[in-house]
Symmetry: C2
Subunit: 191 residues, 2 copies
């Protein structure tokens, strides 16, 4: 069902794919344990990955899909506070693209108004959602990336059906860096 075997990423200690490099095909919980000082550029060969600010998959999250990320800004996108490194990374468990499905709720603990999502939404309010926030979420199938601002900008939160049983009942469970329930765009993550 899931494409776990075909994931590969090469990371480089310097920008533009220079310097010491290392290939990963599964998770790395601390780059220092892999004798890397830093990650400054990344080439994702297959699968979808998520990079984390701190070791053990803590701190800000950054979706990494197939392609080339020649410098830090290419990796990170826009941020509320700036960091300059990844300390851990892991593959994302995706479902077949067309099967991805999640539900968002107005309030914490899966209560209040709700909507089912099975597409990409650069603006949640444009598709009828009531406010620039989400109270809780349940991922039924696949994986999604949720963003603080419209147009896939700002803080990113990776949500997977295979983690926490797909349940994200409060913004404090979205990631250790999350400080508000602000979410304004959501999209599926593909293989």
């Amino acid at each position: 069902r899931h494409d776990r075997n075909n994931t590969s990423v090469t990371v480089f200690e310097q920008e533009h794919f220079q310097g010491k490099c290392k290939e990963f095909t599964s998770e790395c919980c601390n780059i220092h344990d892999c004798s890397l000082d830093n990650i400054r550029s990344i080439r994702v060969e297959s699968g979808a990955w998520v990079g984390f600010e701190h070791h053990d998959f803590q701190g800000q999250q950054f979706i990494l899909e197939r392609g080339e990320y020649p410098n830090w800004e290419a990796c990170s996108g826009s941020l509320s506070y700036h960091i300059e490194r990844f300390m851990s990374l892991r593959p994302i468990h995706c479902a077949s693209h067309n099967n991805s499905r999640m539900k968002i709720f107005e309030k914490e603990n899966f209560i209040g108004r709700s909507t089912e999502l099975c597409d990409d939404y650069p603006s949640l309010v444009a598709m009828g959602w009531i406010k620039p926030e989400v109270g809780s979420m349940h991922v039924q199938c696949g994986a999604f990336v949720c963003y603080e601002y419209p147009g896939y900008r700002g803080q990113q939160y990776i949500m997977e059906s295979e983690r926490h049983s797909g349940d994200y009942q409060h913004w404090k469970t979205w990631g250790s860096h999350c400080q508000t329930p602000k979410i304004q765009s959501i999209r599926r993550i593909r293989h």
Copy 2:
């Protein structure tokens, strides 16, 4: 065919929707001529808009879809060089979402390998494109936003069927700020 009449954006001189504000329902080629000193936050009520770094729709481009942009980082996304203002903005002419269609070419002047796009693509190489660059583009219907990096990050270029007859034959025609043919993700712009 196009939804030109239903576009509205409110801009604010200070962050978090504070200070002097002004509503626009059509293009503004220089905010100083509208007695605004600055734009620090934006609320898009309807339609899709593009903000520009310089007056007369020059410089870096930023797609603005329905929702709230409380500060500069929410508006801008990630950038190769940092700017801190919009000087002009205008609505984008979108087609019905499902009719949006464009063609990308390997080389300048619409030659080399080509692919037709009618969906959203967070990674062009993941869907079979050959390299992290595009030589030229033709937008047959609707409007798209093209990004320098995968996952809708980096420099943005707004491409519309209603401008330049939809023809973008060289990266120099993608925008006055464009310096390379690097494009790694593309998506449709909705009403």
